[in-house]
Amino acid sequence: MNRWKHFFKTYFLTELRAGLWLTWRHLFKRKVTVQFPEERTPQSPRFRGLHALRRYPNGEERCIACKLCEAVCPAAAITIEAGPRESDGTRRTTKYEIDMFKCIYCGFCEESCPVDSIVETRIFDYHFEKRGDNILTKEQLLAIGDRYEVMIAEDKLEDAPYR
């Protein structure tokens, strides 16, 4: 009996028709595509995208060249050189570079920073046009921080109760 059942199932293409019915139903289902530049998916305030160096409200850069981020970076993407600043002799970075090709966006630098200087913003749609552009210098990182400070501060504030 079972053999006959199997025979009929095979020759009447039962399972194939079930499969076709499934795709037919999906043809009319709501489409889930997010059309990226016009539509965006919601982001968490903890989103880890493009890096930035922040400043205090008085304009002083936060980074004190403790090199914790450099040490914690699992991809060795951060390079820091430090020295006393000429104007007042405080310890500052003379070089702060992140190789964005090495970076794995783990967020450890942000976690390790004692002064909340290096942060990862929610910006993810950026690109590099030339070889070498992938290495972000201190000036570029500070500029990103200046440009998006309002957004960064908001995100940090929103996340503050949970850390």
């Binding site: 293409l13 194939l16 499969g19 076709l20 037919w24 999906h26 043809l27 709501r30 489409k31 595509t33």
Partner: protein, 354 residues
């Protein structure tokens, strides 16, 4: 006939050929678009929608891209054969269109061996595949071409038997006559008496055109792209064009053989027939063919690829026996004139006065 007359005749034929080929090429372009859209929809995506309004210019953009690309001839390849292969592949798939009737009178070559010619043209394309695979000097291409060749040859037999059944039912090898034999109503079409043959012809057609789920000759996960791995630019586009032209051909042939070609499906229905009388037959044919083209895309969106031995088993051990059995059934069906499909061609007709 004077020289001038010959010349005019020649131009007239070339014009008719262009009248078939240009819409065909456009149809191929938009079949690729329809395929991407439909598969996208079946996967709950939107498919291409960026080039032009709703993505309607996508195929044009693809064609321009392919035209601009370099035709790379791999080192160690046999250059002559390498460049000849796409032509050998596309020529028969275009030539087959010569005998396809688009309406009662609308046919380029109204031959009485149309069926045989079609079978020949679809089989001869295998040369293009084998030569492409061999001339590429690539293992993947060779494996792909061998798979393709054995698959086309295997399914050719089932398809040939299926066409024999159509020939018996239609009583002619002329495609126009086959369609005329189905005249009457949607219930006079051959899809009822030839239903198993229809299914087998259709599946063999899918296998012949190397379409999913029978696309082992170009199985992406195993042999990259099969026989056309090494082709780029327009040479690749020719293979692509031929594959899709074959798909459309198979769809149109299925409509012609089993679904009454250009005949109005509402024939014989009281109010609907006069209401749809003004629609030209070509529209009906293309609508029917479009449904089968949709089916091909639907199959591709639904089924995973068959294993190679399963393909061979299906072709040799399932399809050929079923077609042979149905040929025998059909013989008695026609001889005893069961139903209304084969009026005037049974024993009575042979022994009778007519």
């Amino acid at each position: 006939m004077s020289f001038m007359q010959l010349l005019i005749e020649g131009f007239w034929i070339v014009g008719k050929i262009l009248l078939i080929l240009v819409p065909l090429i456009l149809a191929v372009a938009y079949t690729t678009f329809a395929e991407r859209k439909l598969i996208g929809y079946m996967q709950m995506r939107l498919g291409p929608n960026r080039v032009g309004p709703k993505g309607w210019l996508q195929p044009i953009a693809d064609v321009i891209k392919l035209l601009m690309k370099e035709v790379v001839v791999p080192s160690g390849a046999n250059k002559t054969l390498f460049l000849l292969a796409p032509i050998l592949f596309i020529a028969p798939s275009f030539a087959a269109w010569a005998v396809v009737p688009f309406d009662a009178e609308l046919v380029l070559a109204d031959t009485n061996v149309g069926l045989l010619y079609l079978l020949a043209m679809t089989s001869i394309a295998v040369y293009g595949v084998i030569i492409a695979g061999w001339a590429s000097n690539s293992r993947y291409a060779l494996i792909g071409s061998l798979r393709s060749a054995s698959q086309i040859v295997s399914y050719e037999i089932a398809m040939g038997f299926a066409l024999v059944a159509v020939l018996m039912a239609g009583g002619s090898m002329n495609l126009g006559a086959i369609v005329e034999a189905q005249n009457g109503s949607a219930l006079h079409w051959f899809w009822i008496p030839l239903f198993p043959i229809l299914v087998i012809y259709w599946i063999s057609g899918v296998a012949e055109t190397n379409r999913a789920p029978f696309d082992v000759p170009e199985g992406e996960s195993e042999i990259v792209a099969g026989f056309h791995v090494e082709y780029a630019g327009m040479a690749f586009a020719l293979f692509f064009l031929a594959e899709y032209a074959n798909m459309i051909l198979i769809s149109i042939l299925t409509a012609l053989f089993f679904f009454g070609g250009w005949l109005n499906p509402f024939q014989g229905i009281p109010y609907l027939e006069p209401a749809t009388d003004w629609i030209p037959g070509t529209v009906w044919l293309l609508l029917k063919a479009a449904w089968f083209l949709f089916m091909m895309i639907w199959l591709r969106a639904t089924f995973p690829r068959y294993r190679y031995d399963q393909i061979m088993r299906l072709g040799w051990k399932v399809f050929i026996p079923i077609t042979v059995v149905w040929l025998i059934v059909l013989t008695f069906w026609i001889k005893f004139e069961w139903g209304w499909w084969f009026d005037g061609r049974g024993i009575a007709a042979i022994g009778g006065v007519s």
